[in-house]
Structures are given as structure tokens and as C-alpha cells.
């Protein structure tokens, strides 16, 4: 376009290019994909797995979005928003897959907006409030390392749709882990204050690690990553202190319900509305 005013160009159509900006042209995330659950795959178990993975992603995305307009630098504001957006994209695909596998045909919004806290299966680590930037970095490092290790295995899952979602997610999560690791090193090594905050964040995260490793057998891989990063950051390995209960069975902290209230409030205030 010319350097003429923006309003001159607004009338231009983009019909031939519906995916030129994020969020457009994706009404059905799994449009055109063969969604038949293959023989030999337990459809109910597949649906449960997808909802669980989607809940982890949706709740994390919600927390990451809360950094918008509050991050320490604009660069971080953009990065955290984009990481949240990646996870939101994963949640949409996984909910859609769950709706096909469990035979209810529910769409992504039915899972996200019309289930209560007790029905969510996310790990409690994901729902904890953001705290300071150090806490968010430590949480993201642990979450991304754990989810990446699990997604790498899921790329070989018997359901080709889930395997494809996982393959896409592996690329995204590799970046999320890298981003968090770089900040962990900066903050661990930076100043006395940043080091102190990182130590505190590690202590706050520690009780929620056990739940992650009960959920998936990826402990060795995750511990190896954390060891490498904490060494580079001059930080000790977090002490593992198990906490009873698990988000995987619907036992959540008091922080999930308010998070969901904010997420679901508008949608629930207008049942039958179209957005």
C-alpha cells in the first residue's frame, strides 16, 4: 500500500488469504483432518488424556496472559503473550480431539467455559498465581520441560491426530523451555536480589513437582534438564517435597476457581449467545 492513510485500505478484501493474521480462518481447528479414532486406541482413555493435556495448557495460558501490560520489559511482554498463545492453540486442538473421541461431539468452548473447577484435571503447578517474574520463570521452566518430555513421547501415540498435535507442540515447547532457561540463568547469576528471588521461587515450586512425576514417567529427563539449567544459573537443585493430593483427580488449590471465574464469567452470563 502507499503511505496514504490507513482507512483507504480497510475496504480491501482478504478473502483469498484468510490465514494472513493469527486467529483468522481457524473456525474448526481440526477441519479436514480424518478424525476417526483408529482401531486399537481406547477412545475414552484418549479423550481423558486430551482433556487433561488441554487443561494444563489452558490454565497456563491464562496465567501467562495475566502478564500482559505488567511485564518487566516489552520484549518479555511479547514473549510471554506468545508462549501463552501457543499453549492456547494446543488447548483448542486437544479439546476438539477430546470431543470427537468421547463421542459427545462437544466443541472446545464447551470444555473451557462450561466445566467447574472440580472437573478440571490440570496439575496444580499451572494454576498457582504468577507471583513475581522469578516465580513465573521457574514455573515455566519446570512446566515446559515436563510437557516437552511428555509430548516427545506422544509423537508416537497410536492416535495420529494426537501424535500430530504433539509434534506441533514439541517445536513450541522447545522454545518455551529455552526462553525460561535463559531467564533462569540471567536471574540466578544476575544480582543478589535476583538470586534470592530465584531461590525463593524454587522453594515455592518444589511441593508441586511430585505431582508432575506421578502423572508421567518423565522424571529422569526433566531432572537432567533442571540440573543443567540450575548449574549454569549458580542455583541449587530444588528440593523435592511431595504434597498430598493431585490436580489430576480434581483436587485443586484455592486459586483455580477464581481463575476460571474470570475466564468463564462472560460466556456464562450469556448462555445461547454467539461470539
Amino acid at each position: 500500500m502507499s503511505d496514504d492513510h490507513v482507512y483507504m485500505t480497510l475496504a480491501e478484501g482478504h478473502e483469498d488469504d484468510t490465514r494472513w493474521a493469527y486467529g483468522t480462518g481457524f473456525e474448526d481447528p481440526l477441519h479436514g483432518v480424518d478424525t476417526t479414532v483408529p482401531e486399537g486406541v481406547d477412545a475414552a482413555a484418549l479423550a481423558d488424556l486430551c482433556v487433561t493435556l488441554a487443561d494444563d495448557a489452558l490454565v497456563s495460558a491464562q496465567r501467562l496472559a495475566e502478564w500482559t501490560t505488567r511485564a518487566p520489559e516489552l520484549e518479555e511482554e511479547v514473549a510471554l503473550a506468545n508462549i501463552g498463545l501457543d499453549l492456547l492453540g494446543q488447548a483448542r486442538l486437544l479439546y476438539s480431539r477430546a470431543g470427537q473421541a468421547d463421542g459427545t461431539g462437544r466443541d472446545e468452548d464447551a470444555y473451557a467455559y462450561f466445566r467447574d473447577a472440580g472437573a478440571f484435571r490440570n496439575v496444580r503447578l499451572a494454576e498457582l498465581p504468577n507471583g513475581d517474574f522469578a516465580f513465573s520463570v521457574v514455573r515455566l521452566l519446570v512446566f515446559a520441560s515436563w510437557r516437552l518430555a511428555h509430548f516427545e513421547r506422544l509423537t508416537a501415540h497410536g492416535d495420529p491426530v494426537l501424535a500430530a498435535i504433539a509434534a506441533k507442540g514439541v517445536k513450541e515447547l522447545t522454545y518455551h523451555r529455552q526462553y525460561a532457561a535463559e531467564w533462569a540463568v540471567r536471574l540466578g547469576d544476575g544480582t543478589e536480589e535476583s538470586h534470592r528471588r530465584m531461590r525463593k521461587a524454587q522453594e515455592q515450586v518444589a511441593p508441586y513437582l511430585g505431582e508432575l512425576f506421578t502423572a508421567y514417567d518423565v522424571r529422569d529427563e526433566v531432572v537432567a534438564v533442571l540440573r543443567q539449567v540450575t548449574e549454569a544459573a549458580g542455583l541449587p537443585m530444588p528440593v523435592y517435597r511431595p504434597l498430598p493430593g493431585s490436580g489430576r483427580t480434581g483436587e485443586h488449590t484455592e486459586h483455580l476457581a477464581p481463575l476460571l471465574a474470570e475466564l468463564q464469567g462472560v460466556a456464562r452470563a450469556h448462555p445461547g449467545a454467539t461470539w
Binding site: 492513510h5 482478504h14 500482559t68 520489559e73 516489552l74 492456547l88 513475581d132 517474574f133 461470539w275
Partner: protein, 272 residues
């Protein structure tokens, strides 16, 4: 939203072309470049007033993007469908565009994004108008509240915009505030009709002779109050920005300290 320069309302006037004591050949070259519709690049000579006007305009644009994120951001965690959620956040991505590179080239990308936002907004409204009666009422209510502020966003009327003529002579601005405002009205009226909402201006009608719409006069006193820092959310928005900056200071200090340590370690490694 493409901002207009608040600064020109209340700061020093730009010096007119050719009067700030520059070498005549530099000034001539600058004038000729402008006359040929060519671009001024960062290393080119430019009159001081031109530079100041640009800095003011670009800074104002960046400020409006940063502050505009706050009301937008409130919706990210509340959007009523995951699809809307995904789309709402892309309104935040333009953050990375402030202050880098010459303005005109940046504007190509910015306008592409803005035009996406406009289309997205229109489609969202269209969807809501097809929804429940309550949703239609909410859309009309929003139109009632935002119509006049929207017209104000094009800036004060031309006869109260003292530096506009200079900006247009320099081709920093290509159209006057009133021209752009009228163009916006002409564009929006058919969209409102198609949506089925009423624009809250009893004076709004098509003027066959002029080939444009006639419309009422915005409350310019209100605009002046807003741009002088007396807007309804001014304190709240500034407070949020300051708090974010202050609470992030230890992070920025840590990043700087780490970079310095890292550089020192590398130097030491190179010597050893």
C-alpha cells in the same frame, strides 16, 4: 489506532521550512526531496522542527499503543470463546513495532495490522448482532458510548490545529484531521447500516451536493480535557504502567548484571 500528535496542541511550534539557519544547500536538498515525494532517511539532514515533529508524533503513536494494551489486555483473560481469545491477543503483538526503523516503512506493516483489527472488530460485531437480543443491545450501547470519542481520535478541528499545515507541507501528514474524520464517517455509515446499529448523531445525513455525509460537532472541550490528562482512566492507566516498570526494575538490573559478568568471564577466558 494511529495516533495524532497531542504535542502540537501545547508545545512549541515547529520552525517553518528554511528558517532555522541551516546551510542553504542542505535546506534546498531537503525541500527538493520532499517536493519529489521521496523519503527522508535517518542520516539525511533535516530541519530541527521536522525532526521534533516526527519524534513527537512517533512517541505519541507508541504511547497510545502501550496504553491501548491495557483495556485490550483486560479482555484476554475474559474472552467468551477460545477463538475470540486467540484473536484478541494478536492486538497485543503490535507492541514490538514501536520506535524501530523509519516511520513510513513501519507504517506499512502497522496499517496491515490495523486493517486486520478493523475487520476483526467488524466480524465480531456482526456475529454478536446475529446472537441474542441482549447481545444486540450491548452492541448498540457500545456504539452509543464510542461514536463521539471515535470522531475525536482524529484530533481537533483543522482551524484549532496550529501545526497541521506545517506537518502537511512537510508531508509528515498527508490529510488534515477534518478530512480524515469525514472519510471515517463516510466509511462507517454503510457499515453501521449493514450491522443494524444506529449512530447516535441526529445531524448525520448524506449530502448529495458534496458527496459526503454531514455530521454533528464532537465536544471539543471534552477532547481537550482528555488530552491534558483528565481522561476517565488516565490516572489508572499511568499507575499501571509505572507499577509494571518499577516492579520490573530488579529483573532489568539482573539482566544487565548478568551480561556484564558474562562479558567479563569471556574476556578472562580469552586472556587465559
Amino acid at each position: 489506532m494511529v495516533g495524532w500528535e497531542v504535542g502540537r496542541m501545547d508545545t512549541t511550534r515547529s520552525s517553518p521550512v528554511g528558517t532555522d539557519g541551516a546551510e542553504p544547500d542542505l535546506q534546498q536538498h531537503f525541500d527538493a526531496t520532499i517536493a519529489r515525494d521521496q523519503r527522508i532517511e535517518p542520516r539525511d539532514w533535516m530541519p530541527e522542527g521536522y525532526r521534533k515533529t516526527l519524534i513527537r508524533q512517533i512517541a505519541q503513536h507508541a504511547h497510545s499503543e502501550i496504553i491501548g494494551m491495557q483495556p485490550e489486555g483486560e479482555w484476554i483473560t475474559r474472552a467468551p470463546s477460545l477463538f475470540v481469545d486467540g484473536a484478541a491477543i494478536c492486538n497485543q503483538v503490535p507492541l514490538c513495532r514501536s520506535s524501530y526503523g523509519p516511520y513510513a516503512r513501519a507504517m506499512v506493516r502497522i496499517c496491515k495490522e490495523e486493517s486486520f483489527h478493523q475487520r476483526q472488530g467488524y466480524e465480531l460485531l456482526m456475529t454478536m448482532m446475529r446472537g441474542t437480543q441482549k447481545q444486540r443491545e450491548m452492541v448498540q450501547d457500545a456504539v452509543n458510548r464510542w461514536w463521539w470519542p471515535s470522531l475525536m481520535m482524529f484530533g481537533p478541528p483543522d482551524d484549532a490545529s496550529p501545526n497541521s499545515a506545517q506537518s502537511m507541507a512537510w508531508k509528515i501528514k498527508r490529510h488534515s484531521n477534518d478530512e480524515l474524520r469525514r472519510r471515517f464517517v463516510d466509511m462507517t455509515v454503510p457499515q453501521a447500516e449493514k450491522l443494524g446499529v444506529t449512530l447516535p448523531d441526529p445531524e448525520l445525513r448524506w449530502n448529495e451536493e458534496l458527496g459526503h455525509h454531514d455530521f454533528g460537532t464532537p465536544d471539543w472541550d471534552e477532547l481537550m480535557r482528555v488530552i491534558k490528562g483528565d481522561g476517565p482512566c488516565n490516572d489508572q492507566r499511568m499507575e499501571r504502567r509505572r507499577t509494571a516498570h518499577e516492579e520490573g526494575s530488579w529483573v532489568r538490573e539482573a539482566a544487565t548484571a548478568h551480561a556484564a559478568k558474562q562479558a567479563a568471564r569471556e574476556r578472562k577466558g580469552a586472556v587465559a
